[in-house]
Symmetry: none
Subunit: 273 residues, 2 copies
């Protein structure tokens, strides 16, 4: 195989899988890992892929798939689990505000696509994810935050405040009964707060490690949150405190997800018959 041909195929694989390992490519193309690294370096130089430790990801969709970076990888299993549970809570919702962060991105990936669904978000990653599928997406607009690729600033806040939504699904850097839902970046917090202004129901999705954390900016107190979806690793005491503040907490487990998946599959089969 020609070198150029291989490079093209490597790019094809990266684009297909969103993220791929050097070792896998080396095995599949029957060349040394060093060669793959050189190919990837070249593709990166030309801006086609993004190099990561041990592999590469597509440039645009950096956060789409597990393996993109350490943060996305972290608790990916839990996040997917949570995202799947949360997706079931939004059946029938017509308009949604989606926040930012890897958990929300997982949610966006697992959201069943419906043509009549309208989504507004300040996250470029979420917008890209849903925009390529059959969902009407509105992106906030405004200044793009460098590391997270989220829209921030006055015009972003103004944009998200214009829309009335049935449900908002947001992530959280910290989650506690005392300080509520907190974010690390106050500019992000401003925008999310704006998105929550005209929504009927707030769903927070956060893995267990976020419980008890307090980040700098409070987005919303738990009293205003309808449901928090998390996994079994969440601190039970904090859950109790949050629940006593009047906020429902749903703890997902692998079994319930599996059960639900089976049920959904059965429903689909019935539906298509």
């Amino acid at each position: 195989m020609l070198a150029v041909e291989r490079r093209l195929k490597v790019l094809e694989r990266v684009a297909e899988d969103q993220a791929i390992e050097v070792s896998t490519l080396a095995r599949d193309f029957q060349v040394s890992e060093m060669t793959i690294r050189r190919d990837l370096r070249r593709l990166e130089r030309d801006g086609f892929v993004r190099r990561t430790y041990g592999g590469a990801t597509t440039h645009l969709v950096r956060t789409f798939e597990v393996g993109a970076n350490a943060r996305t990888l972290r608790h990916a299993k839990e996040k997917r689990l949570i995202a799947r549970c949360a997706a079931e809570l939004t059946v029938g919702v017509r308009s949604m505000f989606l926040g930012i962060g890897t958990t929300v991105e997982h949610f966006a990936r697992l959201l069943p696509v419906r043509e009549d669904l309208m989504v507004i978000t300040p996250s470029l990653a979420v917008a890209s994810l849903l925009g390529t599928r059959n969902v009407r997406v509105i992106i906030a607009g405004g200044l793009v935050r460098q590391d997270e690729l989220t829209c921030i600033g006055a015009s972003a806040v103004e944009a998200v405040r214009r829309y009335n939504t049935d449900t908002a699904v947001i992530g959280a850097a910290g989650l506690s009964a005392r300080r509520g839902v907190t974010e690390l970046d106050d500019r992000d917090a401003d925008v999310i707060r704006g998105g929550l202004e005209r929504t009927e129901r707030i769903i927070v999705i956060a893995d267990g490690t976020k419980f008890g954390n307090v980040a700098m900016s409070t987005v919303v107190p738990v009293e205003q949150v309808s449901v928090i979806v998390t996994d079994a690793s969440a601190d039970p005491d904090e859950i109790t405190r949050i629940e006593s503040a009047g906020c429902e907490v749903v703890v997902c487990s692998a079994e319930t997800a599996a059960t639900r998946a089976a049920r959904n599959a059965a429903r689909e089969i019935r539906g298509s018959a």
Copy 2:
């Protein structure tokens, strides 16, 4: 077998397989590799194939079914060349409007990063590309067009019209003296037109295949365009017509790009010394 006959068959093989090795051809035609190289060199000179290390590929690279990435790869070499030339025209520019399309994405990839640069764009891809680097990016906002991931609609138009820019760099689906810069989607055209409203200089980047094309929506007549950057494959007659309308046309060639690269390298070496 006659030499001309063999050359024809070589071309056939290249077209058939998209990419093929010199060694394979030499074996199949029972001639030395040197002869095949001479054949390929000749075919390349005449524009039929593209020579690569160890073989040759079709000029149109490959037809991938990878969605957006396939399109990005088409004429990628020309687009990179054009993008690199255009990047040199924007040295010192402080604020820029960037349009949509793969050529503009290439431009965004190859744009030298400067912290004092401000970019406004309706393209999620461009925003993602530059947002991860050290550039201040403003994304238009509004409805996200499904297949292209561009911001469209009234609020997107409104957003891009708010900013004053030194230079606008846009692509084109079609480019002709009669109909000017044209786009396929009128909603995209509306947004781009908005972005051009408050700019001092309009640069159009388009590979040669766009010359003479007319797409549905006219974005801007050539009279208002400052510079068009293209490659050597552009129709010379159309270039003449456009130039007589008062618009400068820069035709990039690999040599000038190579020369420039060498010059830049020399400058860097001198600079770092």
